[in-house]
């Protein structure tokens, strides 16, 4: 199963490298969103709660862009059929797509997080925040893949994805923002193990849940 998942992942990364469809748009979107927040909130420097909130929200909405496109190539270019015809464990598709989304999110953060630090963050950046973001990314990747798979067969695909994914991501937003807020404050707090545990738990539950239901989305 892993071998197949890696083959699909490799294919997705290759297509993304070739077309550059998702990641650059997501990264650019983050930058534009920072500017919008600057003017919307009428602030040039953020810290603590507000900084955590802006960062999480920006990453979330950038993620939605990527989630929308995750299964589109399969749907439009026969990728589902190709996969379903192969004698493979079908969960491999879930694993591959979630990993691909995770890679995209990390790639976007390589641009978006430093940009945030430069453009909007007041206090110094505590690298421990990356741990929180990493856990958040896993959750977004899993839930995003599930939402994307649910939406891909529908007619109003781009609308359904955020409507399904965002409520499911609210607990993750809560935990991420609470976890980031002390790390982005002046005189900083530390890494709160409690919120990390909540994130970890949430990720685990959804990984298991997605694994359990994903097959049903593929069969006919």
């Amino acid at each position: 199963m892993i071998r197949v998942a890696l083959a699909v992942l490799r294919k997705d990364l290759l297509v993304e490298l070739r077309t550059k469809e998702s990641v650059p748009a997501m990264a650019l979107f983050s930058l534009v969103t920072y500017v919008v927040f600057r003017f919307g909130l009428d602030r040039t420097s953020l810290e603590g709660d507000l900084a955590a909130g802006v960062l999480v929200v920006t990453l979330l909405f950038a993620a939605v862009l990527g989630i929308n496109r995750l299964f589109v190539a399969e749907r439009e270019q026969g990728g589902f059929d190709a996969f379903l015809l192969a004698p493979v464990d079908r969960s491999a598709l879930l694993v591959a797509k979630a990993l691909a989304l995770l890679v995209f999110l990390v790639a976007v953060e390589v641009v978006a997080v430093p940009a945030f630090v430069v453009l909007l963050l007041g206090p110094a950046f505590d690298p421990a925040a990356l741990v929180v973001l990493a856990l958040a990314d896993v959750g977004i990747a899993v839930i995003g893949t599930l939402a994307s798979a649910l939406a891909v067969q529908t007619r109003a695909r781009d609308l359904i994805v955020p409507l399904v994914a965002l409520p499911l991501l609210v607990p993750l937003v809560i935990a991420t923002a609470q976890g980031l807020s002390p790390l982005l404050s002046e005189g900083g707090g530390g890494l709160d193990a409690g919120w990390l545990a909540v994130l970890g738990l949430y990720d685990t539950v959804f990984v298991l849940l997605s694994y359990a239901v994903f097959d049903f989305l593929l069969e006919d």
Binding site: R10, L14, Q77, L85
Partner: protein, 228 residues
């Protein structure tokens, strides 16, 4: 010792909403033989191929493919079936070679086979261009490679030589034609040509069997009547 029949259908029914896409289809196809399927658009040819490919589950009736029951044992036959449908199932932004390597990875086939097939259909020189830049005929040739990449025992072909010029059609013949010596199910709009290459003929209309019998006993005129 005779091999078991490649396909055994008994009252196969597949619905789409309230309509019957396929209704009570019954036939037996011996191993190594060719079944040709005729019928107007919407008659159920594609649905039949997709059910045989294990992409769709039968709603009623029984279906056995290569000795295995569908859908319970679909997983066991998947690797032994090759489907060539209207959609070439190739990623347009990847090259022919990359596409075939991906499919090879999915089916556990080797790269050498992909190279051999590219050569056999005359695509080895243009195999590194993204598929979106190739003509429809070239894409079809690549699709043929994809369909037989894993050396399937059963071939399901939906109008396989459409988009192919006579030269290209000759190249793919040994791979998917009579000469390939595989069990084949071919959906066709060409009565004379289709019958010539087949052992058994099936005519569908609105999902129902309008015609079924040895290809030698069916005339192109009878096939033509299906379309009226």
């Amino acid at each position: 010792m005779a091999a078991p029949p490649a396909i055994e259908l008994a009252g196969l029914t597949r619905r789409y909403g309230e309509r019957d896409a396929l209704a009570e289809v019954t036939l037996t196809l011996p191993a190594g033989a060719t079944l040709v399927v005729f019928g107007p658009n919407g008659a159920g040819k594609t649905t039949l191929l997709r059910v045989l490919a294990t992409l769709l589950r039968p709603h009623e009736g029984a279906a056995r493919v290569l000795g295995r029951e569908l859908p319970a044992e679909s997983w066991a036959v998947r690797g032994r079936i090759g489907l060539l449908a209207h959609d070439p199932l190739l990623y347009r932004d990847l090259s022919g070679r990359e596409n075939l390597r991906y499919h090879a990875a999915l089916h556990g086939a080797g790269r050498e086979r992909a190279e051999f097939l590219l050569d056999a259909v005359g695509m080895d020189r243009r195999a590194d261009e993204p598929v979106r830049f190739l003509s429809r005929g070239m894409v079809q040739r690549l699709a043929v490679c994809r369909a037989v990449l894993h050396d399937p025992d059963l071939l399901l072909l939906d109008e396989p030589t459409s988009h192919l010029d006579p030269a290209a059609a000759e190249l793919v013949g040994p791979l998917i034609g009579r000469a390939s010596a595989r069990t084949r199910v071919v959906a066709s709009h060409d009565p004379a040509g289709g019958l010539a290459e087949a052992d058994l003929a099936l005519g569908l209309r609105a999902g129902r069997t309008a015609l079924l019998g040895p290809a030698a006993g069916v005339s192109p005129a009878e096939v033509g009547a299906l379309y009226r």
